[in-house]
Every structure is written in structure tokens, then in C-alpha cells.
């Protein structure tokens, strides 16, 4: 076990965990930030996507020991009032079905648009390809990313 001081959603948080513990389980079990989801554990489905220094990463495969002073943002911290352009676009297009993968989808989309505010269809597909939606809401996800892109 080891002590870590993490910057999560702009707040300083302390945890005492095994250094190999993936960020996903630190968030979910130790910090009660359960919006980040467990899907596969091997960085293949994207349900656990968070931002580390602005970049979308799979938190299930990111050990807590390597975070150091990097800034972590989860779905809970993407916006204060749930009104990030991507979140608003998701509601406008009524994207979710079961909703389980959507926080990961939103985090990936937000990171894409932060880097590239006007992505082409191909760029959206490429960026979103690591996030599986078993309900098959991909066409709505694409439409919502485009709507969010316009409002940035």
C-alpha cells in the first residue's frame, strides 16, 4: 500500500492503495466517483475513459502510481452543471439507450473536440472507435459530436 495525493476534478484527494491499482478502481471504490465505468479491464471498450492532462485515457489500464501530479478529470468534473457542449448535445440528440458506455463516449468526444473543434466524419469515427456501444447508438453519437462541434 502507498499514499497518493491526486488532483481529480480540480480537487486534491488522498488515497492509500496498492501502487498497481488502476485509476478506474481508485475512482470507483475509493473516491466514490462511479460515473467512470468498468467494461473490459484491458483498454478495449472505452467505458472507463477519463482525461489525464486533457488527454482521453483508459483508466482501467492506468496504474495510480504513474499519475503523480497530472490532472485527472472524470465525467463528474467535465462541467460544473452538466452543461458541457458535449453533454448538452447528448441530451439534445437523446443519445443514450442503456447509458452505461456513455460517460466514456462523452469523455472521448470532449477530448477530441478540445483538440480538433471541427472534426470531419472520418476524424470522429477514428477518435470514437475505441468506445464500444453495445446498444448501437453510434449514429446518434456522431450527430451529437457534430452538434457539440458547432456550439464550441
Amino acid at each position: 500500500m502507498a499514499q497518493y495525493n491526486l488532483s481529480i476534478n480540480g480537487k486534491s484527494m488522498n488515497v492509500d492503495v496498492d501502487p498497481n491499482t488502476p485509476l478506474l478502481w481508485v475512482l470507483r471504490d475509493h473516491l466514490d466517483l462511479v460515473g467512470t465505468k468498468f467494461g473490459c479491464g484491458i483498454a478495449q471498450c472505452g467505458a472507463c475513459t477519463v482525461h489525464i492532462d486533457g488527454e482521453a485515457v483508459r483508466s482501467c489500464s492506468y496504474p495510480v502510481s504513474v499519475i503523480e501530479d497530472k490532472k485527472v478529470v472524470t465525467i463528474e468534473g467535465l462541467s460544473e452543471k452538466g452543461d458541457h457542449p458535449v453533454q448538452k448535445a447528448w441530451l439534445e440528440h437523446d443519445v443514450p439507450q442503456c447509458g452505461y458506455c456513455q460517460s466514456g463516449q462523452i469523455m472521448t468526444a470532449a477530448s477530441l473536440l478540445a483538440e480538433n473543434p471541427n472534426p470531419t466524419d472520418e476524424e470522429i469515427s477514428y477518435a470514437m472507435n475505441g468506445n464500444i456501444c453495445r446498444c448501437g447508438t453510434y449514429t446518434r453519437i456522431k450527430a451529437a459530436v457534430k452538434t457539440a462541434s458547432k456550439s464550441l
Binding site: M1, G35, G39, G41, I42, Q87, W90, G99, Q102, R134
Partner: protein, 756 residues
């Protein structure tokens, strides 16, 4: 055709004085929409008055509606309350929605499956809304001393015109809650033309919570003192636990205990949904998910081959039977050989019209084709899991289940507790697709909690989930058509089977349209467990049938839509046999609609186009799929769907589900496959099990609903089965090759120069 007409039960209208268990999982309907401003909507009232099991009204006019059914993404948590709200006659923006817990005394049919939520709830929920409205009218009549018949309601207001008296629902809710509910049979329901909410799209009531990551799923649940559990199950079908060394894990950090869990008692008569692959598993309990998952890898365990076995099944109608589970380690290659063997043997005749044998003897030509598809894993994004808190003689379970009523018997038997001491709270599910109708995971969590006498959250790893069975079966179907010299269709013969069930629906189209018809089924037993998977059986047989009809139309020199319409005309005007379970006119209706919406005969440049249609869950769907070839790979460009499912309660959400079913179908047709080597599933995570991804989804999907005044029929499943053939038929146009075996992608990879 029979529509399921659930008789209204008085228990729906029982008065309740407390909240139905669980947490206050309120979802305000406007939150998701972001439309009204804060001033336009009502805030939480000081007091709620219960009108009936489904409805509470606050003194300020705010309304709480309970969604009785488990939500797994089909959006019943929005659509079922919409039905209540319309008959109650309230403003949707003043509605809170609360997920009901399992409470059979208060709610009917708390089950998600068979595309049945809306169709079974349609009358009961309308009646619940209408009787509540009548109770408010009666309360006003009593207060104002005027005849109830002279009082009208208008979106949350009561009015007696001649005396000029007016009041909001909130003002009369307290009295209305004390009144006798009127006889449901005597309450008049709205005319379809008067619907204000039904038919007008409403946003998902949980939308705002989903996009901000609020806890909604069982996996998100946590209470003080809760422990975490992982499970270890045998690595192969046909294997069972021999022994394990508990000390190999109990000294690891954070690990409290490891023990065997026996899911069902030996003498327990299982019901239809009590499927479990591994009746004995090992549980590892500890302080965090990561620690218990790490400990799984360190566990010393020995497995052994399971012999042939039997378990008791409580049959429908009370008769008990023994279900045999064969021993042995099975292989996909051997499955294929065995299935090919069965095609040559006579099957069980399930329907015979005319003289099919004679017609085949007379035939100038016979077209014969065999179609196959593999086992499929459901792969819900949220793996199987459950929270349980069993202490002394009380149990609280919070878990993702489509069928709480079905698992209650097992919980009661395995825990040794009476049903009334067990509370099942219903979590939003991260997908279901049929998989969560089999709720052994709730029993497992409950037994772990009972053993440690503490609350516990048990979670499967993705590998546990994908390798634990309850798969869509593997199937095969052989179609034979007899043609005369002039290309007239003389007879059709279907022989369809699978491991371990047959996909045959002997009375569905094209039965009834062909004079000489023979349908036979067969099945091969196996220890690989199966379960309902989005449109069971239809999800395979539709693809086989509609691919065959496409090839047959081509052989006969006919347009594929025209050919189907001719058959349907025959079934309508002069049907063969009496057990045909579809309405040929509604069937033809969706084909005509998709022909129009896709502009069928005007195929755009560079596009190959295929069509398919199917009837299931009392709904009719036709689909056209357009593909192009880019970089020697097929690309799905457009999908057009025409759907006749009666009245559509929530059109945009219905379209969303239709789009999802189409994407699901394309994904499974191209990539879906579970295989076995010596009983071991060859794919256990998404690195090997190919799921459809964003870039592989169609560029455009249009879902068109037939305008209808018929009561609603199924929707979650019916758009799925037609996809396989619409895609296969368009790929044939694009590649020149008919695809007979799913998944398609490995065969496409072998094709060198695709057309176009």
C-alpha cells in the same frame, strides 16, 4: 394472430402509504429535455398523496409516476410513465419518474423481455391513469357538491364550468387519495385522437443523470461496511470444481475469505429462467474490487470433468421433469460436422401442407441452400453483478435483472428465507438483450452476503461474463424450393435445427403462401447453456429465410420485393392452412413503405442494395440496406426501415431503439461468433470478440413507422432479425457471392477483388 391481452388485475390499484422500498431514485422529466426554464416547472412538493400504486400527486400539483418494469435501455422508464401521464391528463413537465422496486402486490408483470413491456402495459397503465383521474374528479365533485359527470379535466386542472369552480390536481389530491378506486372495467379510456403525450417524443428521463455520471446501475451501489466479491468459475463447459486451496488467497492484501457457493439446492425445481452454467463457483471476498480480482489469478484450484448429470425443472403447469446435461468437452468443429449430419436425416415434422414430397418429385429444378450461424455472447457493457445485504432472516438485493419474479423462487430456496423477507430492488441495467432474464448472479451475491453476514457487491470480470454461457445457440437451416419448367414455385421445404434448440417457426411466412409446404425441426443436446438473445430463434431464421427468398426471386427472374408481395397476396386472398400467425396485409404494408422510402428501384451510383422483411413479436418490419465498396471492404452506407408496431408511444426513442437494433444486427452479421475448443470458449474479452465499432455503423439510418391506430406491439426486438438478410443480400449484389454462413467478415476477407 393473437395479441396478448393481460387481464387487468385489481392489485394494481391497491393503495400504498409508503414509498415502494429502495432509494428515492427520482428523475424529473424536464431535466433531460433542458427545455422549460426553472420558473415554468414545479418544485418538489411538501407532501405526496398516493392515488394508486403507480401515481402520487403533491399538494403543488407535481406528479410522481412509477415505472414498474426493469429498464435496460429500451426506455420504458420514459415510455410507460408517458402512458400513465396521458390518461391522468397532466403536464409532462410536472412529472417525476421513479423506478419501482419489485413489488408483485402493487405492480403487474415486472418483466423485461419478449418486446412486451409496452404492449402488456398498454391497457393496465392507461386504466391506472384513467382511474386516478376519476378519483380526482370524484374528490372535486364531493368538495364542490356538484355531479362528477359535469367535471372536466385539462392538463392537471379540474373544472366545473356552470359553477365556475376550478382547482389544480394538487389541491384535491389529499382527498382523492382517500376515495375508493372506481371499477377499472367501468372507466372510459381516451380516444386515440385525444392523446397529448402518447405519440409525442419525450426525452429519456434519466438522460441528465447519464451524461453527468450519476450512480444509476447496481455496479455503482455502495453502502457503509460493504465488501467486494469476485467469482471463479470452471474454465470450460463440461468441467466442475474438484478442490481449491483457500490459503492461496486469504493471506493476500485486502482478502477476507474464499469459499464455495452452490447456486441452487439439489432438490430445487428450477424454472425456465433459472439457467446457470456453473452451479458451483468459488467466491473471493475482500476490501476492494481490484484486490479480489487480483486474488482470482493466485487461487490454487483444481477442476475435473463433469459426468452426465440431471437437475429437476419445475415444468409449466406443475409437472416436474428432469433436465439432462451431457458430460464431455465440446468443440466447434465437431458441432459443425454433427449439424451437417442432421441435415441429411429426417427431422420432426412441424407443419405439412399439400403434397410437398410429390411436388419435389415433379419439379424441373430444385434450389437447395443451407445457412448457418454460430453461438453468440450477449456481451452487455455492464458485466453481471449484484449487490446483496443478507443479515439474519432478511435479504435486500439490488441487481440488474430483467426477471425479478423468476429469480425470487431461487433466492428463497437458496437462502432458506420466505419470499416476503426478500426485497429485490431494480437497478437500471447496462444492457440486457435477454441475458439478464437469467439472474443467477443475484443468487450468487445473496449467498456470498449470507455467508459473511455483511453487505457485498459481487462483480464478474469481462472474462467471467463472456465465458459463463447462456449464449444464443448455434443454428442451421436448409431451404429447398421446387420449381417447374416455367419457374413456378411448386413447393417449399425447410429443415432447421441447432445446438441445443431449433430456430423453426413453422407457421410464419412463407407458410400460408405456398400450396405444398413442409417444415421440420431437429436439435442436438449439449452442455453449452443457451438463453434468450434479442429475438430468440427469429434472429437466425429470418436471415436464412429472407436470404433464400432473395436467391429464389433471382432464380425466378423476379424483383425481390415484388416476389414477396406476390406471396403475401396469395396468403391474404387464398391462404394455405389455418395456423398462419401473421397478417399478410400489414406484412405487405411495410414492404411497400420501405420500397417507397428507399426509392427502391432508383439505386444510387456505387451502391448495392438488399431487402428483407420479417414478422415477430406481433410487429412487421422491412429493411433495405445499401452498401458500397471502399478499399476492397464493404461499407454500410444507408439503412431504411419500415415498421408497423401499432401506435408508437415515444417516436424518437422508438427510432433510437430501432437504429440500435440495426447496428446490433450489422455487427453480429459481420463479426459475432463464439467458438469452443475442448469446452473452453475461445474468446473471453473484446480483444478477440469482435464487436461493431463506431466506424462500422451505417452512415445513415432512417426508421419509418406505419401510422396506425392499432394497440402497440413489440419494438425492441423486431428490427433486429431482418438485418442479417438485408445485409447479406446487399453484399451479394456488391460482391457477386452469396453468404450462407455467419459471421460474414472472415469470408469477405478472403474475397480478392470486390466489384465496383
Amino acid at each position: 394472430m393473437t395479441l396478448i391481452d393481460k387481464k387487468l388485475n385489481r392489485r394494481s390499484f391497491l393503495k400504498v402509504s409508503t414509498l415502494a422500498g429502495g432509494g428515492m431514485m427520482l428523475s424529473f422529466s424536464w431535466l433531460a429535455g433542458c427545455k422549460p426554464t426553472a420558473e415554468e416547472v414545479l418544485t418538489m412538493p411538501d407532501e405526496w398523496f398516493t392515488i394508486n400504486s403507480y401515481i402520487k400527486i403533491g399538494e403543488n400539483g407535481a406528479v410522481t409516476l412509477f415505472n414498474p418494469n426493469p429498464e435496460f435501455g429500451q426506455n420504458v422508464k420514459t415510455s410507460l410513465p408517458m402512458i400513465l401521464a396521458d390518461e391522468l391528463d397532466v403536464d409532462w413537465k410536472n412529472v417525476f419518474v421513479e423506478q419501482a422496486d419489485f413489488y408483485p402486490e402493487r405492480f403487474e408483470r415486472q418483466f423485461t423481455g419478449g418486446s412486451n413491456s409496452v404492449r402488456s402495459s398498454w391497457k393496465p397503465l392507461r386504466t391506472a391513469g384513467a382511474t386516478a383521474r376519476h378519483m380526482l374528479i370524484n374528490a372535486a365533485a364531493q368538495t364542490w357538491n356538484v355531479p362528477a359527470g359535469e367535471i372536466i379535466t385539462s392538463t392537471g386542472m379540474l373544472e366545473h364550468k356552470s359553477s365556475g369552480k376550478k382547482a389544480g390536481y394538487g389541491e384535491l389530491a389529499s382527498l382523492a387519495g382517500t376515495l375508493e378506486a372506481p371499477d377499472p372495467e367501468a372507466v372510459k379510456l381516451k380516444e386515440n385522437a385525444d392523446f397529448k403525450i402518447i405519440g409525442n417524443s419525450k426525452k429519456n428521463v434519466d438522460g441528465a443523470k447519464i451524461v453527468t455520471g450519476k450512480p444509476l446501475f447496481a455496479l455503482d451501489h455502495k453502502v457503509e461496511g460493504m465488501k467486494y466479491a469476485a467469482i471463479v468459475h470452471p474454465p470450460a463447459f463440461g468441467m466442475k470444481l474438484k478442490s481449491f486451496d483457500k490459503s492461496s488467497v486469504t493471506s493476500l492484501p485486502g482478502i477476507q475469505d474464499a469459499f464455495e457457493v452452490k447456486v441452487f439446492k439439489d432438490d430445487y425445481g428450477r424454472n425456465f429462467f433459472d439457467t446457470t452454467t456453473f452451479p458451483e463457483i468459488i467466491a473471493i471476498v475482500g476490501n476492494s474490487t481490484w484486490e479480489v480480482m487480483q486474488a482470482k489469478k493466485k487461487l490454487n484450484v483444481e477442476w475435473e470433468k463433469a459426468p452426465d448429470s440431471t437437475f429437476p425443472m419445475a415444468g409449466r403447469g406443475g409437472q416436474n421433469m428432469d433436465i439432462k446435461v451431457p458430460g464431455g468437452l465440446e468443440n466447434s468443429a465437431a458441432h459443425k460436422e454433427k449439424m451437417a449430419e442432421y441435415i441429411t436425416k429426417p427431422g420432426n415434422v412441424q407443419r405439412k401442407d399439400g403434397d410437398p414430397e410429390g411436388a419435389f418429385k415433379k419439379a424441373a429444378r430444385v434450389l437447395e441452400r443451407t445457412y448457418t450461424a454460430p453461438f453468440l455472447a450477449h456481451n452487455t457493457m455492464e458485466p453481471m453483478n449484484a449487490f446483496a445485504d443478507v443479515k439474519g432472516d432478511k435479504a435486500v438485493i439490488y441487481g440488474p435483472t430483467q426477471a425479478p419474479e423468476s429469480i425470487m423462487n431461487a433466492l428463497s430456496s437458496s437462502l432458506g428465507l420466505p419470499k416476503e423477507n426478500i426485497q429485490i430492488n431494480l437497478a437500471r441495467m447496462g444492457g440486457g438483450f435477454g441475458r439478464r432474464a437469467y439472474s443467477h448472479h443475484l443468487v450468487e451475491a445473496a449467498l456470498i452476503s449470507q455467508k459473511i453476514q455483511a453487505p457485498v457487491k459481487m462483480v464478474y470480470s469481462r472474462e467471467d461474463d463472456m465465458s459463463a454461457g447462456v449464449y444464443r445457440p448455434t443454428y442451421s437451416a436448409t431451404y429447398r424450393a421446387a420449381l417447374d419448367e416455367n419457374n413456378n414455385l411448386l413447393a417449399l421445404h425447410i429443415k432447421a435445427g441447432g445446438i441445443p434448440e431449433s430456430p423453426l417457426h413453422a407457421n410464419r411466412f412463407p407458410a400460408g403462401a405456398i400450396d405444398n409446404y413442409l417444415a421440420e425441426g431437429w436439435q442436438i443436446e449439449s452442455n453449452i447453456t443457451i438463453g434468450a438473445f434479442r429475438a430468440p430463434r427469429s434472429n437466425f431464421i429470418a436471415g436464412a429465410e429472407q436470404s433464400f427468398l432473395d436467391e429464389l426471386a433471382e432464380e425466378m427472374g423476379k424483383d425481390p420485393i415484388e416476389f414477396r408481395l406476390e406471396l403475401l397476396k396469395r396468403a391474404e386472398t387464398n391462404p394455405v392452412g389455418e395456423r398462419n400467425d401473421y397478417d399478410p396485409k400489414r406484412y405487405a404494408g411495410v414492404l411497400e413503405l420501405v420500397r417507397e422510402k428507399s426509392n427502391w428501384s432508383a439505386v444510387p451510383n456505387g451502391i448495392s442494395r438488399g431487402v428483407s422483411a420479417y414478422f415477430c413479436h406481433n410487429s412487421y418490419v422491412a429493411e433495405v440496406i445499401d452498401v458500397s465498396i471502399k478499399d476492397n471492404q464493404p461499407v454500410v452506407e444507408n439503412v431504411f426501415a419500415a415498421v408497423d408496431c401499432g401506435i408508437v408511444v415515444n417516436p424518437d426513442a422508438a427510432a433510437n431503439m430501432g437504429e440500435g437494433a440495426i447496428v446490433d444486427g450489422i455487427g453480429n452479421a459481420f463479426y459475432g461468433e463464439m467458438a469452443f475448443e475442448n469446452g473452453v470458449p475461445t474468446k473471453t474479452n473484446f480483444d478477440k470478440y469482435r464487436m461493431i465499432r463506431h466506424s462500422e455503423a451505417p452512415k445513415k439510418i432512417e426508421v419509418h413507422f406505419v401510422e396506425s391506430t392499432e394497440d402497440p406491439t413489440g419494438l425492441g426486438e423486431p428490427l433486429f432479425p431482418p438485418v442479417f438478410a438485408a445485409l447479406g443480400n446487399s453484399l451479394y449484389k456488391a460482391t457477386g457471392k452469396r453468404l450462407y454462413d455467419q459471421p460474414f467478415q472472415p469470408q469477405i476477407m478472403q474475397m480478392e477483388n470486390l466489384r465496383m
